[in-house]
Subunit: 100 residues, 2 copies
Amino acid sequence: MDIVEISKVLSNKTRVNILKWLKNPELNFPPHQDIDHFDDGVCVGFIQDKTGLSQSTISTYLNSMQNAGLVIPTRHGKWTYYRRNESVIKTYIEALKTSL
Amino acid sequence: MDIVEISKVLSNKTRVNILKWLKNPELNFPPHQDIDHFDDGVCVGFIQDKTGLSQSTISTYLNSMQNAGLVIPTRHGKWTYYRRNESVIKTYIEALKTSL
DNA sequence: TTTACATATCTAAATAAATAGATATGTTTT
DNA sequence: AAAACATATCTATTTATTTAGATATGTAAA
């Protein structure tokens, strides 16, 4: 859990939005066709549509978020689903509260 | 209080360190000569010495931290003292906890 | 077993951040 | 009033980030 690395992720409006949206997938994304739940998160395409940015940009964003530990990817067939990593998010905020 | 702007400040090791050091000025900096307290914070020169970066870089850093609301400057003669803005720091962490 | 599709990675261009030297500004001292 | 000093701002260079198009990879469907 690297404070600077995570702060870098949060220093971009789109990436902050993605994290916020993933808190409530039912509310922020259309339902998936192959699976009837959001337990493993949301597929890249839905996130891309919502942001309006290019596919490669969103893939890069999600990769940096994953490297920072903020999201967890799960592959379902040809789709990759991303969900929040609540424990890392919580640990980060705790670290700010105590060490900052 | 802008989450993205504050996160940008925190996405740099030196700036995070400055904020941490300012939590305990007596512990992290030599005593001031003209005033016998740290109530208004620490002068730029001390901060610069501690980081080893150039005067202009530290001045720029402190300016960006001030713009984000994280620190408060006070002029004492020819020195400018910087101290933490605890309420903004607290509000930022609270905002992360609720909105993130 | 091609073809189509979703996502990842590569490459490149534009923009922003980091950093320091030089100079300007404001303050104090002589 | 001039010299000295602390900090701020300006200018320029290097490095990182943003972003998208092109291409590669992995999976599923025809």
